[in-house]
């Protein structure tokens, strides 16, 4: 695995630790405002300074990791599972299931701007973390289904599958113990890139006011609060801290995904 992927892995591990132990790492109460300590620059008391209402930015960035990771993990797990099952069934059985899935659902969903659909759904459902997760799952599973279907179609024709069939193995056994383990690799890559996408989507929607409602320390909300002119002039670090956090997290998952793809598919290594 290359160095960038290693960086990604280390950063993600660090992020998980930060999210798990946020109460011990944070130096201040995330919600505590202090109008006497607004727009403070980074100092030994406030490591990353304070925002427009005097809240400690470092603590908020630390807690923000929880929201980002939670959305990422839930969205990837749920949409991944749905996508794997639907894609595997469509690829394995073919027929009318496949005609509906690949002929209609994949074509339609992939011809549609996913973020816009998520925005539209949350706009009608009302803002909130769970609704946001629901919207991201609804748009997210299609990508996994497409990858999985392609993989199953390929693996299905391999000799060992034919051999298992000749030995009288049942469909579900062939599917779960022979095809799935051999078809799962690109899904892992997709999941890593999907984490990046989900983190980004959560921040985007929260930035637009459609995600986690404001006092919550979502990185997207923090950016939205820090981008007005008064804060930009007096405390640009209030925008930089969550911005860098989002960028590094997305970058880490993208690095990991790219690295995994290269690692799992040696033909790509020369490029």
């Amino acid at each position: 695995m290359n160095r960038l992927a290693l960086f990604g892995l280390v950063f993600i591990a660090l992020l998980i630790v930060v999210a798990l132990f946020a109460p011990f790492i944070a130096t201040h109460d995330v919600g505590a405002t202090n109008l006497l300590a607004r727009y403070l620059p980074p100092s030994s008391e406030h490591w990353l300074g304070t925002d427009a209402t005097g809240r400690d930015i470092f603590s908020r960035v630390v807690y923000g990791a929880r929201i980002s990771l939670r959305v990422g993990i839930v969205v990837v797990a749920v949409s991944g599972l749905i996508g794997i099952v639907v894609g595997a069934l469509a690829g394995f059985y073919g027929g009318w299931v496949d005609r509906i899935v690949s002929g209609y659902v994949l074509n339609v969903f992939l011809a549609f701007p996913g973020l816009l659909l998520a925005i539209a759904m949350v706009a009608f459902l009302g803002a909130g973390l769970n609704k946001l997760i629901l919207a991201l799952c609804i748009i997210g599973w299609v990508g996994y289904a497409r990858v999985m279907r392609g993989q199953v179609l390929k693996v299905r024709e391999y000799d060992f599958v034919q051999a298992a069939r000749a030995l009288g193995a049942r469909d579900w056994r062939i599917l779960f113990s022979h095809i799935l383990p051999n078809a799962i690799q690109p899904i892992i890559v997709q999941a890593s890139l999907g984490m990046a996408g989900a983190v980004l989507a959560e921040a985007s929607l929260s930035f637009l006011g459609l995600g986690v409602p404001p006092p919550a320390p979502s990185w997207g909300v923090m950016l939205e609060e820090a981008r007005d002119l008064a804060t930009l002039q007096r405390a640009p670090h209030a925008m930089l801290a969550p911005g860098i956090a989002i960028a590094l997290t997305v970058l880490a998952f993208n690095f990991l995904g790219d690295g995994l793809r290269e690692y799992l598919d040696p033909r790509q290594r020369r490029r």
């Binding site: 549609f112 701007p113 925005i119 009608f124 459902l125 637009l208 911005g243």
Partner: protein, 330 residues
């Protein structure tokens, strides 16, 4: 010839299916609103008459779909067949006549609102596309030509960073640098050409990073082809080989990405427009639609952005086939 015709027909069918799905989704999305949209707009204190009037005016008193599962007069919940007299059909009828209903708040026709903003969004998306190409083609060629060198590697890392930087990080950063710190460019609005620079840079930056990678791998692939050797053998300068021969072929896959990304740009423009207060469709969607819960505006904006996106994709697909004869055969 027959195959070609069938292929075009198939594509047209998919296009129609996608548009049908989008319109249906948009039409039915309004049913997701928790509670009564009329109450959401007029408030809890509104009189029953006012609510009734509002519902009637916007057709909200009609059943939602062909079949509904609702309470009848005896208070029992049951499936009901409503025939063609329902909101789903109403919305379709409207669209076919070029009518997307009226704004819940201002009563202005949604079509007028959208038309007044459409130009600004297209202007922004095209400017961003231009920015992306202007950055990506020279950088991609440079990286591809000098493959494996330090320059190539650092350009690749920069490109990956660029892809990972969301517009709502790039935008405020650019505002801070160019508007607050250097005081060179305006912060927001759409008064003159200088207003376009920062939004276009913001929207185009991620795309330029993606394109740089595309151009690079495309150049690398083409450099290995026979015609490059021929061109070199007949004594053309390296510059001519790259810019006249390699780039011409190497840009074909890039065109596809560009077209596909035009749609992504349109969707991404929502956030960029919000950051820079750029009066396009995205701002209409967020400020007038979502924030004021004016669902008719949301429906119209989502519909128009999606359909533009879908048509941009289809157009790209056709263009791509025209450009590369190898694809036409298969």
């Amino acid at each position: 010839m027959k195959h070609k015709l069938l292929d075009i027909l198939r594509r047209l069918l998919i296009l129609l299916l996608v548009v049908w799905t989008v319109v249906s989704l948009v039409t039915l999305l309004i049913e997701l609103v928790p509670g009564d949209p009329a109450v959401a707009i007029l408030g809890e204190q509104a009189t029953p008459e006012a609510l009734e009037q509002f519902r009637e005016k916007h057709g909200l008193d009609r059943p939602a779909f062909f079949v509904t599962y609702s309470e009848d007069k005896s208070g029992e919940r049951r499936l009901r067949w409503n025939g063609a007299e329902n909101r789903y059909v109403d919305y379709w009828r409207g669209i076919l006549r070029g009518d997307m209903g009226r704004s819940f708040r201002t009563d202005r026709p949604v079509v007028d609102l959208i038309l007044s903003r459409y130009g600004a969004t297209i202007e922004l998306a095209l400017a961003a596309l231009l920015v992306a190409v202007a950055i990506a083609v020279p950088l991609g060629v440079m990286a591809g030509k000098n493959r494996g060198t330090l320059m190539d590697n650092s350009l690749s890392v920069i490109a990956l960073i660029g892809i990972s930087l969301p517009s709502f990080v790039v935008g405020p950063l650019l505002i801070y640098i160019f508007a607050v710190w250097l005081n060179l460019l305006p912060v927001s609005g759409r008064e003159g050409p200088s207003n376009l620079i920062l939004p276009a840079l913001t929207l185009g930056s991620a795309l330029s990073a993606l394109l740089t990678r595309m151009v690079r791998s495309s150049v690398i692939e083409e450099m290995g082809e026979d015609y490059v050797r021929t061109a070199r053998a007949k004594g053309l300068s390296e510059r001519k080989v790259v810019y006249k021969h390699v780039l011409k072929n190497g840009l074909i896959p890039v065109v596809t990405i560009l077209g596909l990304q035009l749609g992504v740009l349109l969707a991404g423009a929502i956030i960029t427009e919000k950051i820079f207060n750029w009066p396009g469709l995205g701002l209409l969607l967020v400020d007038d639609g979502i924030n004021k819960r004016d669902y008719r505006i949301v429906q119209g904006c989502v519909l128009v952005i999606s359909v533009t996106y879908i048509f941009a994709n289809t157009l790209t697909d056709i263009l791509y086939r025209k450009l590369d004869p190898r694809i036409r055969v298969s």
